[in-house]
């Protein structure tokens, strides 16, 4: 290659690089802007929440010590003072035509104080997640998808200080129950869906963002009360509200 030619090549390469950079940055800016449309709402519990039993962890002194001041309870129904229902997953069960969200985030399923944190975790199909153990004791992670289904049950031990376990679910499933055989009180759920979803917080609020306009069927799943559905129409630029109410049994 002659000298002028090399300069030319460098100039073209730099221009191309700059262009790519500008394009990616501008795209990112578009994504970071307020969502064109989204669904938000509140999940309420009608009636009194069933009694949640305190958990006695005396079998595992290290965990019992963590919760000594504030004993933890079961989390089958977690309702706030104003009836907001926590840990409800709202997802699009019909009308989503896109692929699973191309997210690179790797959520963490932590075992801390002999509890699962979070208690309910949403996942996209094929989204990797890591299982960590923050306790000074061993745990075993035992997710139990529906027998005979495409997702397979597994059961791995994770001693204290062991490296995180990388895992992934290949198919939608609402919901996969996870337990620890060493600490029978440990219980949690993984909800594997295709497309965007929201999980309700302490006040029962959830939010599904970045939704293209269209007609959707929303499903709200709660571990004790099961599912509820409702149809919503999302127009471009107009956030939609969709509330669910579960009746205490």
């Amino acid at each position: 290659m002659t000298k002028p030619n090399r300069h030319k090549a460098i100039a073209i390469a730099s221009a191309a690089l700059l262009l790519t950079l500008v394009v990616t940055m501008s795209q990112r800016r578009v994504k970071a802007a307020p969502p064109e449309s989204g669904i938000s709402g509140t999940i309420k519990l009608e009636g009194t929440a069933p009694h949640q039993r305190p958990i006695d962890m005396s079998k595992e002194p290290a965990c019992a010590a963590v919760h000594k001041a504030n004993p933890v309870t079961t989390e089958n129904v977690v309702a706030g003072p104003d009836g907001g229902l926590k840990n409800v997953v709202v997802y699009i069960s019909e009308g989503w035509s896109g692929a699973a969200q191309a997210t690179t985030a790797i959520p963490t399923w932590d075992q801390k104080g002999c509890q699962y944190i979070p208690h309910v975790m949403g996942l996209d199909v094929n989204q990797h997640f890591k299982v960590t153990n923050s306790d000074p004791t061993s745990h075993n992670i035992h997710p139990m998808p529906k027998p005979g289904g495409p997702n397979h049950e597994w059961n791995k031990s994770q001693p204290s200080g062991a490296p995180p376990i990388d895992a992934v679910w290949g198919t939608e499933e609402v919901a996969i129950h996870v337990k620890c055989n060493i600490h029978p009180w440990m219980s949690g759920y993984m909800v594997v869906v295709k497309g965007p979803y929201g999980i309700s917080d302490e006040k029962g609020s959830y939010k599904i963002e970045n939704l293209p306009a269209g007609n959707y069927t929303l499903t709200a799943w709660q571990e004790t009360y099961g599912t509820q559905t409702q149809k919503v129409t999302v127009a471009a630029g107009k956030p939609v509200s969709a509330n669910f109410t579960f009746k205490a049994k």
Partner: protein, 267 residues
Amino acid sequence: MAKLVAVTLALITIASAVPILAHIWVPPADISTHGHLIDEQMSDTMAEAGICFIAAQLILAAFIWMFSNRKPGDKIKNFPGGAKGLVTAAFLLVGTEVLALGFFGTRAWADVFLTPASANSMPVQVQAGQFAFYFRYPGPDGKFGPIHPDKINEASQNIFGLDVDNDPDSKDDIVTAEMGVPMNKEIHLLMHAKDVGHSFYVRELRMQQDFVPGLDLSLHFTATKVGRYEIVCTQLCGLGHYNMKAYLNVMSQPDYDDWLKKQASMQ
């Protein structure tokens, strides 16, 4: 060379007896009314087996020493009756010893395992399951509600599968993860397994009893010393076996009453 073997044998024998005679390793203190019988039986067995062992080894060493340089032409003495007589004598001797140990041992064991619990003993139910023990107290009505295995749900802490809404006897049942008992009160422990074989072992109580799936077994004991003792599973029951344990909390009667009240409030 033979004399060296004899001396080594004698030294090993004496050295192995030293830690036992010196009580370097002793079991944890007994906290039960029956434990001394077990302990006495153990030390009797140890003394008898130990004396036989030391005697046999030292006689062997002596024989090696005495007859190591036999000269050609020396007469060999035989046991009266030859090999047959020797085996018969050994059989009778060892047989008597084993039978005697068994006979006296059974007395200690039967006192614990083959006698019924007294009428005013306090019933406590224990359920062993992979990989934890849970305990149930009948509450003020003194009755255990029925168990419905299909209702067992660990996520909601319904460990025993009770139907509190429909079974009146279950309403006041108290389920705990720790076994609290009052001191100097006979406990009638009703045992059942949820899944596979397990074992209930408390060193300080000198008690060990397997859980057999499908069988309702029971134990009775009286703890005499306040403290917290480990209950461990001593029957390999699966992956989490090493961590299958609970605590036996022996308390004074007022402490126990408070404890039970607190447990009842946590149901």
